[in-house]
């Protein structure tokens, strides 16, 4: 038997006869001699089913697979394996995807890197890669587009990786992106420090409030109903499923939509909103953040930023505003700040319907605190109960002596009046107790 001679071109005559003989012995195998005869030149990849056991084993060995005995039950498996080996690229990815699917349930971050980078969209791949390089690209894009107002809202839609990477570029960025990035950050996996997460936390709290505020402002300004409705829906979603860090994709999308709607009506927004709120800037881009900055002053203890808002002239460049928003960040030469973010659950190619609170949610923490408050009293109650039980037990055991003591004290209290009767009673009780 020729080893390694797989191609049908070699020793074709002998092979055909042998294969014919073999096919009779092996039931259930389709015989494709006609196909082979018709296309001997096209098929460089032989059909594993037409090979003999030894040839199949040799073929597998040729691909580096040490096959076991090829018997009736194992033949099908080895044929399949050989097919997979003869189509290396596609099958390899398929297997990787399957295995990734198997293990993706249990793990969060690492599996995506290993198996799914090739298969995921570009946006996700960029998330996996280092942020610095991506953010550099993003800065170049953004500086070019910084002056374009309408395109800002569209950018998040254009580039899938866009929203994720801009949190690390506060200096040269515009406001709208970091907010959207924060929301999306909370959804997608990346490795960032807790600092940025805290930052995002504080900001994310303000976003739904800011949206509500923006809606009210818009209503006053007489904008279209689409904006407030969308923003209100976002607010309701934010309030209902609100957690400091977890945002749903739906919220993020609605946020983007509301932002796009806001940015779309450029001139009208400018005039009306500026008239209503003095601190707002003329540009709608700043307006979005301006609403939120104002919300900070309205709903939360005023920080330095609101005061700075009024002090600064409206024509200040974006950098100051961004520095106000992120007062904690220092300045770096490249303006890139990479901070670790908390890992996000549920990002393994599964849409997250609602937020998974990895850390205690505020309502949950309140409940826990209440429980903890109650737990201590329960133990104290148990202790008190046990103490009372012991006291009662002692009283029950020493009832006689206690009665004597009590009655003697009563006798001392009552000198003349009822003294005799008490004494008589004590005598009676003593007699009774003595009898017992």
């Amino acid at each position: 038997m020729p080893d390694g001679c797989i191609s049908p071109e070699c020793s074709s005559g002998v092979q055909w006869n042998h294969l014919l003989a073999n096919s009779d012995q092996i039931p259930g195998h389709t015989w494709r001699s006609k196909d082979r005869e018709e296309d001997p030149d096209h098929t460089e990849i032989p059909d594993p089913r037409t090979l003999t056991d030894d040839e199949l084993k040799a073929a597998l060995l040729h691909h580096g697979v040490k096959a076991g005995p090829i018997v009736g039950t194992t033949r099908a498996v080895y044929e399949k394996k050989l097919k997979k080996l003869l189509q290396p690229d596609e099958s390899g990815k398929v297997n990787g995807a399957e295995k990734a699917v198997v293990y993706s349930d249990s793990e969060e971050e690492e599996e995506e890197e290993v198996e799914e980078e090739e298969q995921k969209a570009d946006g996700e791949e960029e998330v996996e890669e280092s942020v610095c390089t991506e953010s550099e690209k993003q800065t170049a894009e953004q500086t070019d587009l910084a002056k374009q107002e309408s395109s800002q809202a569209k950018l998040p839609y254009q580039n899938g990786s866009f929203p994720y990477l801009q949190c690390f570029m506060p200096s040269s960025r515009l406001h709208a992106r970091p907010t959207s990035n924060r929301e999306s950050k909370s959804k997608w996996n990346s490795r960032n420090a807790v600092k940025s997460s805290e930052r995002s936390r504080s900001r994310c709290k303000e976003i739904p409030v800011g949206i509500s505020r923006a809606s009210s402002v818009d209503q006053h300004s007489g904008l279209g109903s689409g904006v407030p409705s969308g923003s209100q829906s976002v607010m309701s979603n934010g309030c209902s499923s609100f957690s400091s860090q977890a945002f749903s994709i739906t919220q993020m999308v609605k946020e983007m939509e509301s932002r796009s709607l806001i940015s779309s009506s450029t001139d009208a927004d400018r005039e009306l909103n500026v008239s209503n709120v003095q601190e707002h800037r003329s540009q709608p881009i700043r307006l979005q953040i301006a609403d939120r900055m104002k919300n900070q002053s309205v709903y939360y203890t005023p920080q330095d930023s609101p005061h700075k808002w009024g002090a600064q002239p409206p024509q200040e460049p974006m950098k100051d505003i961004i520095k106000e928003i992120f007062p904690e960040t220092g300045t770096t030469p490249t303006g890139i700040h990479a901070t670790r973010r908390r890992p996000i659950k549920g990002a393994a190619q599964r849409p997250v319907q609602y937020g998974y609170p990895a850390t205690p949610v505020s309502p949950a923490t309140l409940e826990r605190r209440e429980m903890e408050r109650r737990r201590v009293p329960i133990r104290i109650q148990i202790l008190v109960f046990l103490i009372m039980a012991c006291i009662l037990y002692f009283i029950y055991v020493n009832l006689e002596d206690i009665c004597v003591v009590l009655l003697d004290s009563l006798n001392q209290g009552f000198d003349s009046e009822d003294g005799y009767s008490l004494q008589a009673e004590t005598e009676d009780t003593q007699v009774v107790s003595g009898q017992d």
């Binding site: 099908a76 498996v77 399949k80 394996k81 699917v101 198997v102």
Partner: protein, 90 residues
């Protein structure tokens, strides 16, 4: 990391003897019937197949999928069960 089921523990605890195919971890009634129809009526027959495939995980999984239509989890359970049994008794 998946923890082993009670079925797995029971199977691995002692020699399989004449146990049926349903005693294997991951093989329930439906899969067990399909295996029996194919001729694998006892657990040791499946063990035989497992050994003939040289205890190779991928091959055994593929075979199991082709023979009785087991899903990934069931394949894994059965493979792990047999592998551990072999480590203990073979």
């Amino acid at each position: 990391m998946s923890s082993t089921s009670q079925k797995h523990k029971d199977f691995v605890a002692e020699p399989m003897g004449e146990k049926t195919v349903m005693a294997l971890a991951g093989i329930g009634e439906v899969l067990g019937k399909r295996l029996e129809e194919k001729g694998f009526d006892k657990a040791y027959v499946v063990l035989g197949q497992f050994l003939v495939l040289k205890k190779d995980e991928e091959l055994f999984r593929d075979w199991l999928k082709d023979t009785c239509g087991a899903n990934v989890k069931q394949q894994g359970d059965c493979y792990g069960c047999l592998k551990e049994w072999c480590d203990a008794f073979l």
